[in-house]
């Protein structure tokens, strides 16, 4: 038999592909069914948020932050307010700090529930998607009661939060946590022993800790490689040093490990919210800042632990009411840039790439800004 002629060809996955959860194009070089190389092409969602922020006053920047990463908009609010408060040395009242932690952790749970649902859906299981969004709805309802919005909250202010919690927030929040905690065994029960799920995730997309770190990968993806790096413990911001919680890690570094780490993080977040609800003090929720708010000249890089890893902001102030420069850094940015590294030359199929992309939990607005 003569030699069979083979050649590599390029497949465009995206820009509108159901499993990329946004607008991302992956240019895949294929050898038959196997992926030889992948190159992410981004920019479809670029809204020039950094440039717009340079033309707005500091309080006006907060709504822009919601659009930077809208799955955990509370984190982006916290990021900008924290950086500005550190820059201008604004004190935050005790009650506001507790409210912020409650919101941040509830938002983390909501984000991980989306991850749980969409990852399962991308791998062919529809039920977890419905379950995940059903319980997320409880949290979104709490947010809606508190600040009137379901996605872009614009709830935090420089020096506190916009308004106090609604009267019956604490009991409602407790019962929502009880419901979510009760459903956790369902979540793991339907997937953890499912042979299709295990075949799709176990041993796929394995990352090494040093390799991932060199590429700036943080968050659950890094923790699934066995590095207990969590900014809530390592560089505590707000009042995270007062709460008792664990940093879940796994050793394998594959898709399944990332899934397990995120589910355990939901449990830890529930624990933190409960402690914050127990300790919630009475008092002011906002320090008044001047109407013509001008932080002193200086520069700052601030980072917080988002559900997708380290989220950072660099602000340079020249003493004016508008920032001179705002630079945003999202965990997804580094994770998407790391994606070709773990796909290249491993002979994965496109179906494997879908699982890897889903467990990286990349959010495209955070990448494109």
């Amino acid at each position: 038999m003569g030699d069979l002629r083979t050649e590599e060809f390029v497949v465009n996955m995206g820009p509108v592909h159901p499993s990329t959860h946004g607008v991302c194009r992956l240019m895949l070089t294929m050898n038959g069914e196997q992926i030889v190389d992948a190159e992410p092409v981004i920019g479809y969602l670029h809204r020039a948020i950094e440039k717009i922020c340079e033309n707005r006053t500091y309080p006006q920047c907060i709504p822009m932050m919601d659009r930077f990463e809208y799955v955990t908009a509370m984190s982006t609010n916290e990021l900008f307010c924290l950086a500005t408060e550190r820059l201008a040395e604004v004190e935050v009242p005790e009650r506001a700090e507790y409210i912020r932690v409650i919101m941040l952790e509830l938002n983390r749970i909501a984000s991980h529930l989306i991850f749980y649902g969409t990852t399962a859906m991308d791998c062919g299981a529809l039920t977890p998607f419905l379950w995940g969004l059903r319980e997320r709805e409880l949290i979104i309802d709490l947010f809606e009661e508190t600040c009137g919005q379901r996605l872009t909250y614009n709830y935090f202010r420089i020096g506190g939060v916009a308004n106090d919690l609604p009267i019956d927030f604490v009991p409602k929040c407790r019962s929502a946590l009880d419901v979510i905690e009760g459903k956790m065994s369902d979540y793991t029960g339907i997937l953890n022993n499912n042979p299709i799920w295990l075949a799709r995730l176990k041993g796929i997309g394995t990352a090494e800790a040093d390799h991932a770190l060199a590429w700036g990968v943080t968050g659950p993806v890094l923790r699934a490689c066995g590095v207990a790096h969590d900014l809530r413990k390592d560089d505590p911001y707000s009042i995270y040093d007062r709460f008792d919680f664990e940093v879940p890690i796994a050793q394998e570094g594959d898709c399944y490990a990332r899934y397990l780490v995120r589910l355990e993080e939901i449990r830890q977040s529930i624990k933190i919210v409960r402690q914050a609800l127990d300790g919630l003090p009475e008092g002011e929720t906002r320090t008044k800042i001047k109407a013509n708010f001008k932080p002193p000249a200086g520069e700052i890089y601030t980072r917080i632990e988002n559900s997708r890893g380290e989220m950072g902001i660099y602000i340079q102030s020249n003493g004016d009411k508008k920032p001179l420069r705002v630079k945003l850094r999202g965990g997804s940015y580094n994770q998407l840039q790391f994606l070709p590294e773990i796909v290249r030359g491993k002979g994965y199929l496109i179906a494997d790439l879908v699982a890897i992309f889903a467990t990286f939990d990349v959010i495209l607005p955070e990448v494109d800004r």
Binding site: A48, R86, G298, Y301, Q337
Partner: protein
């Protein structure tokens, strides 16, 4: 290592290549010479007491008088964090790529090239990515850049 110890250690080592600035508000901010970039990055990563093993962020700044490039680095082992930066004149905006030290800087350097027009030597992948492929309107993050048909609101 506390922040004071870190500041003293970094300022006292590395042949004085990192000079402390007073503009850093939460973490220490150092200034370096553009030519020392690769040496400094390598030294900060390999120093056994610092072990800066990943890069948080890197970006250009246009102050209106000159360009600046700011690098934010951190360590997952020693938990320390610091920033360093240097200034560049507009007519000679060129930096070295430090992908060999922290490969994760790849896209950040690409972004600085695309949005600020800072040329990155030895980068190997300077292609448009945030802006449209047929973009020919210059570098939009520069302060003197005006968007076509953009109406600036009067200052209040």
């Amino acid at each position: 290592m506390t922040k004071e110890e870190l500041t003293a250690y970094v300022g006292g080592h590395f042949d004085g290549k990192l000079k402390l600035l007073d503009t850093g508000r939460y973490d220490p901010m150092f200034e370096i010479q553009p030519g020392d970039l690769l040496d400094v990055a390598r030294a900060l990563r390999d120093d056994s007491r610092l072990q800066f093993d990943y890069l948080c962020s890197m970006g250009g700044v246009d102050t209106g008088e000159h360009l600046e490039v700011v690098y934010s680095i951190a360590s997952s082992k020693t938990k320390s964090r610091l920033d360093f930066k240097f200034s560049l004149p507009y007519d000679k905006a060129e930096i070295d790529s430090i992908q060999e030290v922290w490969p994760g800087i790849n896209w950040y350097e690409r972004e600085a090239w695309e949005l600020y027009g800072i040329n990155v030597r030895n980068h190997g992948n300077l292609k448009r990515f945030l802006l449209p492929d047929d973009w020919d309107q210059g570098h939009p993050m520069l302060k003197n850049w005006d968007a076509p048909d953009f109406i600036r609101m009067p200052e209040r």
